[in-house]
Structure formats: structure tokens, C-alpha cells
């Protein structure tokens, strides 16, 4: 269910019982049931095939052993040095810092490039070249510059976020309808007023699309930096489990990271629904 229809639903509770709504609810519940059923079948097949084909546990663990690993990682005090909480917090903390830094920088530079032809001509070649480079390949270099501490994790997360925001905010700001700019010009609005009142809201959907991608990129960057060397973080949990052939432990860590990614993605989606509330309702 979309955020917008939830907002409307809250204000119009009387509508909640209309047949159309009930049908939609029913369809949603049925959809979730189908998905859950499919997952159960998949897990059962997985468990069954591992048992009957005698797949060694260092190749593919059973779902049961993954759940066990998950449980032993989660059923500890959040302050404990073992378990998932500390590494999860470390990864989240660095990814979030990098995300915020990279988004701000990307938005500012993207805006400058969109506003000034000179800055665009100056920076576009690099932006384009780097856009085509698999940026994660720069990670080892960043580790040399920033060391094995939090700095390199934040920097890589920020770098990946930055490019996603740079391109999207630039594209979104440039996509502003000329009629809207004419309107502002006819009111002798200043350049900054045109940017703030027309261009930025106009680019909001693009910017959120960039943020949405960047959430995953920031996590990706942080984990890769942790692979290259770190004291704390989910990347460390994975490499440690891998070093002792604890494949169930690797799977469990991946499940945790997946859950974090989904949660952040959902959060971003809700934020977008709230901020870009006018979108998808047709323009005038």
C-alpha cells in the first residue's frame, strides 16, 4: 500500500469499508500469502537437497544452520563485542555518514553544474569519465589515502553516493520545464529563487531516485572497504566467517545486510512519498 493512500485512508476512515477497498486488501493479503508460500517451498527444497545430496556444509549450509547462526548472532546483549550489533552499528554508522556527506556534496556540485555552463564544461568530462569507471575499483587507493579506520569506509561510501547524486540532481535540475522558468522570470525572480522554488522541487523525483540507489551504494562501499581491512563491521564478520569456512555464518551476515538494505530502502521510499507528495498525480 502506498504512503499516499495511507495518508488519505487515515483522514477518511469511512472509506475503509467500501467493497473496492476490501477487495484490494484481500488481493494484498493473497499476494503476501503467495510470496510467503513460495519462500517456504524454496527453503524446504534447499534443506531437502542439502540433506539428500549430502552437500558439504562449507559449500551450502542448511537453512536451519543459517537460522542457528543468525540466532546466535542476535541473541546477545547489544553492547557485547560478539554478535551482530556492534559490527552492524559500525557498518551502518559509516555508511550513513558517507551517504549524508556524499549526497550533500553531490547535490551541491550537481546544482552548480546545472546552473553554470562554465562549471559544467569544466567538470563534465571528469564526471563522465568517472561515471564509466567501475568506481569500486578506486577502493584500494582510498584505503591507502585514508587508512584502515572509519575514514576509508566513509570516504568510499561518500564517493559512490556522490556520483549517484551528482548525475541525478544535474539531470533533474536541467529537466525543468522552460514554461516554469519563464513564469519565474516574468516575476523578476532571482536566480536563487528560481532554483529554490522551481528547479529543486522539479528535480525532487530525480534526486530521490539517486538517493534510493545511493543507499545501496553506500552499504556496498562500506562493506568493500571493510573487506580490504577493518577492525569492526559486517564486512569483518563475513571475512572472519569465511576464513574458518563458516558458510552458514556468511549467509547469516548476508541476511542481516539484506534486511538492513530493505529497511533503508523502505525508509527512503516513505520519505520520498512524503516530500514529493504531488508526484504521480498528473501535472496540470
Amino acid at each position: 500500500m502506498s504512503g499516499a493512500s495511507m495518508q488519505q485512508g487515515a483522514s477518511a476512515a469511512t472509506l475503509a469499508a467500501t467493497p473496492a477497498r476490501r477487495r484490494r486488501r484481500f488481493a494484498e493479503v493473497r499476494g503476501s500469502l503467495i510470496a510467503a508460500g513460495g519462500m517456504l517451498v524454496l527453503l524446504a527444497l534447499w534443506e531437502g537437497s542439502v540433506r539428500f545430496l549430502h552437500t558439504p556444509s562449507y559449500i551450502l549450509p542448511t537453512p536451519g544452520s543459517v537460522v542457528h547462526a543468525l540466532w546466535s548472532g542476535l541473541a546477545v546483549s547489544p553492547a557485547s563485542p560478539v554478535g551482530y550489533y556492534r559490527p552492524l552499528w559500525g557498518t551502518f554508522h559509516n555508511a550513513a555518514l558517507g551517504f549524508v556527506l556524499g549526497s550533500l556534496l553531490g547535490l551541491v556540485l550537481g546544482s552548480l553544474m546545472a546552473e553554470s555552463r562554465v562549471i559544467e564544461k569544466l567538470l563534465m568530462p571528469y564526471a563522465f569519465a568517472l561515471q564509466c569507471l567501475p568506481k569500486i575499483a578506486i577502493a584500494p587507493l582510498v584505503v591507502i589515502w585514508f587508512g584502515f579506520g572509519d575514514g576509508s569506509k566513509i570516504a568510499i561510501a561518500a564517493m559512490l553516493t556522490f556520483f549517484s547524486l551528482l548525475i541525478n540532481s544535474f539531470t533533474g535540475l536541467r529537466a525543468t520545464e522552460p514554461e516554469r522558468i519563464d513564469l519565474m522570470r516574468s516575476l523578476s525572480a532571482s536566480r536563487f529563487e528560481i532554483y529554490r522554488i522551481v528547479k529543486l522541487p522539479n528535480a525532487a523525483s530525480f534526486i530521490f531516485a539517486g538517493l534510493d540507489m545511493a543507499v545501496v551504494y553506500a552499504l556496498l562501499g562500506t562493506i568493500v572497504a571493510e573487506f580490504l581491512g577493518a577492525q569492526n563491521g559486517m564486512g569483518v564478520v563475513i571475512t572472519q566467517a569465511q576464513s574458518v569456512n563458516d558458510v552458514a555464518g556468511v549467509f547469516a551476515a548476508l541476511v542481516i545486510l539484506g534486511a538492513l538494505g530493505i529497511a533503508l530502502h523502505a525508509l527512503m521510499h516513505r520519505l520520498e512519498r512524503r516530500v514529493v507528495h504531488w508526484a504521480d498525480r498528473g501535472t496540470n
Partner: protein, 273 residues
Amino acid sequence: MTSPEADVLDRAKPPPAPALIALSGVAKTFTARNGSAVRALDGVDLEIRPGEFVSIVGPSGCGKSTLLRMVAGLDPCEEGTLVLDGRAVAGPSGDVGVVFQAANLLPWLNVRENVRLPLRVGGRRAAEPARIDALLGMAGLGEFGAKYPYQLSGGMQQRVGICRALARDPRILLMDEPFGALDALTRERMNAELQRIWQTSGKTVLLITHSISEAIFLADRVVVMSARPGRVLRELAVPIPRPRSFDTIVSHPAYAALACEVRGLLSAEGGIE
């Protein structure tokens, strides 16, 4: 600079008051990147007096929008002279309200914020909530201040656009086919409303339209333009007393004659649309 044709144009009325908007020999050529040039306007002479309502009709592509954009200061006037209130137009002046084709509201602002927009940009910081309320009330939008554009019908959006153009209480109102997207009945209602606004406010209005009946109904003077490159083909005074109504105007003898003449001029120029 004046084209020779200017002399043979039959002026409807010699302007008694000094013109508020004066165009003389205004021309415009658009040059594409590949170097090919389009002559959009060619020697336009036109004078509009304060408080006058002037409609412009002309074949599609004859440069009407270009002309209006130049008067609004959105496009530069590089050939001929374009004077607004005694000063050459160098850019958008705060004293001109523009009503764009297709309301052109900002979808992220609600109705009230859209109408208030002219009061908070361009170095203005006025709150003036009473004025906004009065405008919305006049346009029959009193209860819709908190609604967003997507929640309004096309006619309502257009009314919001007109309120916005009036927010600064400009002396001059420029309208580019403001009612083109509306159905015939809504359009007539909006025309009547616009006439009322104009009569009570004493503004100078320049209206571009494709509808001959709308042009005659609203205007003191109908300006017929030639096919591209656009020139003023003829100016026709509309000697029909106000307030006019669509029910009675069609039976006025001058109406049929005017409509017939405008239609004849336009079809000779290759049709209005």
C-alpha cells in the same frame, strides 16, 4: 524602420491618450543552430492605451506568442522599438502579469501558495493574506486555497493562473491563449469573468486567442495579424457597449460584421487553425 504597409493600414481609432505599450517596427528572427533562420515577426506597429483591452488573432505560427513574450520582457527585442510606459523594454518588469497557456501552476504549491508566489519573489516579501483571500474569492476559489493543482479541474487551474497574474495588481495583463484548453461553456463563463475583472480593475489587457468570438466579446480593439512573418494586418474597433453578454452580443449588428471581417482576413491569410 517602419514598413511601408503601415501607412495603408486602416487605423480604427487614432490614439488619444499616450500609449502604455508601443511597438514600432518590431521584428524578430530566430536563428537555429544550423544557421537556418525563421523570420517570426516583421515590422509590427501597435499602440495600446492605458485601460484598453486588445485582442490579437492571427494564423498559427504567425508570431503572436513571440510578440507577447517580447512585451513581457522574456525575449529581447533586437529590431524595432518596444516601449512600455515610456521606457524601452529591457527585461521582465514587475508591473506586468502574464497568464500562460495551460495554467502553468507549480504542482508542489497549493492554490494559495501559487497565487501568493508573485508576492514573495523578485525582491518582495509581502504577506498580504487578505489580498490573496479576496482574489481567490473573486475567482470562486475561496474554499480551494489548500488544494493542490492536481485536485482542480482545468478551468479552476486556469482561474488560479489568472489570480496569480493579478496578485501584484499589475497595470498590464498579458494573456496567451489562456482559455484554449477549456470547453466552450466554461470558456464563455471565464470570458465573462475576465470582462468583469477588467471593468472593475481598469487594467490594460493584451489577449492572444484563436477564437474570433472570444476576441470580439472581450476587446475594445481586435488586432488581426498576417501569416508568418507576422505583421499587423488590420485593427478593428469593437463598438459594442459593455457589459457584454454572450446571449445578447450575437444579435448586435456590429458583432456579425466584425466576425465576418475577421474571418475573411484570416482565411485570406490561410486560416486560423
